[in-house]
Every structure is written in C-alpha cells, then in structure tokens.
C-alpha cells in the first residue's frame, strides 16, 4: 500500500514537469492572408480586386492589414502592404509573398520563403515585394507569428 503510494507520488511528480516542459511538439502556423489581383479593363486601364482572409483570429487581433497596393515598375509588379499593430508590446512575425500570372498559375512556386519582421507597439509598417518576372498579375501575402 505504502509502496504504491510512493510510486504514484513519484509518477505524478514526473508527469507534472514533463507536461510543463513539453506542452506539445506542434505549433499553430496559420495567420492572416491578403491578396490583390490586377485586371486590365477594356480601356487599357487597370482594375484591382483585393481581399483579406483571417485564418487565425489570434493573429488578426494583434495585427491588421490596413492597405494592399501595387504598381508596375516598367512591366514588373511591385506590391506593398501596410500593417498596423494593435498591441502595445513588440511582436515578432513572418511574411511570405506568392505571385501568380493572369491564369492563376503560381510563379516560381518552390522559391517562396518566410521572412521575419518585428512590429513595435502600435506601429504602422509597410512591407514590399517584387514579382519574380513580368507575367505576375496577382500577389498573395501570408503573415503568421514567429
């Protein structure tokens, strides 16, 4: 009886730090996503369609995509997004741009990578990306916590 109690206490003691030290091997990787598509109208001018998707409300509570804008530099599409931090403390995030042609086919799909950035308390920041080649007509930006 006494032996079992000691064993139980030992097991419980072992379990507690284990649970604290290893809360899990997986972390949340979803975040927020902004996208903008450039379409040419009949007059030869450009029209833009934009959307923002919140996949992780926790990220969206601290960070807001304020504007999505784009311009052609020569024939290369350059994207800019403005972010606003809603937290008063410094936060660490990562972003990744993806580029698509007018048929929606992703350009250089294997070359996408996450870039870290810091948002200071209640800061407004712009991030820029340049399309890999002149066929880009749509961009998407994914943002997640680091």
């Amino acid at each position: 009886m006494k032996k079992i109690s000691v064993l139980a206490a030992a097991a419980a003691l072992l379990a507690l730090p284990a649970l604290v030290l290893f809360p899990g091997c997986r972390s949340t990787t979803s975040g927020i996503e902004g996208s903008s598509t450039v379409m040419m109208d009949a007059d030869g001018g450009y029209q833009y369609s934009e959307y923002v998707v919140v996949n992780n409300p926790k990220v969206a509570r601290g960070l807001q995509i304020s504007t999505l804008s784009q311009e052609f530099v020569g024939d290369i599409l350059r994207a800019q997004i403005t972010l606003v931090s809603k937290y008063s403390k410094t936060q660490q995030y990562q972003y990744r741009f993806s580029w698509f042609d007018e048929s929606g086919v992703e350009l250089d799909a294997g070359a996408r990578h996450w870039i870290p950035f810091i948002m200071y308390g209640n800061e407004t920041k712009t991030l820029q990306g340049v399309a890999p080649n002149p066929s880009a007509r749509q961009f998407k930006i994914n943002i997640r916590t680091r």
Binding site: I4, A9, A11, A15, L19, F22, I76, V130
Partner: protein
C-alpha cells in the same frame, strides 16, 4: 482510497509515456523556405533575405528599368568578398541572385566558372575533326559583359553579460552589392541589406 492511488499511478505513468513517445527523436523533411534559426551564424534564412532584397531592388531601380525595357544586358558576377570571420559559401549567395535575375527575363549572364570547359569544348570541336566546321564554335565570338556585379558581406559582433542572462550576443550583417558599367566605369546601382541576429542564454530555466 487504493483505487484513487492506482488511478493516479496509471495517469502519471501514462502521461510520462505519452510525452516521451510524442516527442521522441524523429527524422522528416523540412521546408527550405522556412529554415529554423539555430545560431547567430550566417544561415539559409539570411541568404534568402539578401537574394530577395537585392533582386527586387535591382529589378525596380528606374535607370535599370529603362535599360532592361530596351534590351537584356549581359552581366558577369564576381564572387562575394567575405569580410566576416565565418566560413561562408558566398558563391551560393551570388548563385541565388543570378538565378533570380536570369529567371526575371531581364538580364543575361556570362558564366566564368565554366570557361575552362568551354575552351576544351571549342578546341575539341575545331581540332578533333569530328564536327562540321561551318557549325563549330569559334574562339573570339562570345559576347562581352556590359556590367559587373560585385558584392561584399561584413559583420559586427557584440557581446554583453547580465545577471539574469549568461550571455547576450548580437551579430550585425551588412551585404553590399554594386553594379558597375564595364565600358564607362560608372557605378549604375548599389544597395545594402542589413540583418541583425540576437542570442540570449538565460542563466535560469531552459
């Protein structure tokens, strides 16, 4: 009472086993675009950030845009001057930048690293007597580079000791790239990319 103790025992041992099994050593594929940061050394994340920044800057620099709208200039890339104390494969940095610029369709490149093989092949075509001479490559017909891309990577390291932290370390990297017109000698474009990596070793905890 004894039932409760047994339940605690099973629960405790079960939790330990579950945690141990769940986080045991595993081998799997990683994402090349999401390289983890394990040190303050120059890693793949820095390489990608530099290649991204330099390519974007060069492709959108107005005088270069004007030139590339008219023609695809021929460039040659010099190896990055490594001014850091680390052993860095700087050729992979220039390889990444060159690949991205080539894939933009805006530039063409001369590859100096394969000059030896090129000379051997031209000589073989001309001297072995197997190749039709009207199709054989000739010496002195290659295009000359119009621009040269040069770069350097430097670092500044600082350390600090604090009571609550065993060691605080900051490594500042600066990558500088220049595009020089070989015929006029004029520096047409230059840009820098700065990256800071921090390390903090807590005295207590893990």
């Amino acid at each position: 009472m004894q039932k409760g103790i047994k339940f605690l025992l099973v629960l405790g041992l079960g939790t330990v086993l579950a945690v141990a099994a769940g986080c045991s050593t595993t081998y799997e594929y990683g994402d090349a675009g999401d390289a983890p940061v394990y040190s303050t050394g120059f890693g793949p994340g820095e390489l990608q950030q530099i290649a991204d920044s330099m390519t974007g800057s060069l492709l959108t620099f107005p005088p270069i845009v004007q030139v590339t709208n008219e023609r695809r200039p021929v460039l040659v890339v010099e190896r990055v001057k490594n001014k850091t104390t680390q052993h860095i494969d700087t050729e992979s940095v220039t390889d990444s930048i060159r690949t991205r610029l080539l894939r933009s369709g805006k530039f063409r490149f001369l590859d100096k690293s394969t000059d030896g093989q090129t000379i051997d092949e031209i000589r073989r075509q001309q001297e072995q007597g197997l190749t039709r001479q009207d199709q054989a490559a000739q010496f002195g017909t290659q295009e000359a580079a119009e621009f040269i891309l040069t770069a350097s990577l430097s670092e500044i390291e600082q350390r600090k000791e604090e009571f609550w932290t065993q060691e605080k370390k900051m490594v500042y990297y600066k990558f500088t790239m220049n595009l020089k017109n070989l015929r006029s000698g004029i520096l047409e474009w230059a840009d820098e990319k700065e990256i800071v990596k921090l390390k903090s070793d807590p005295r207590f905890g893990y």
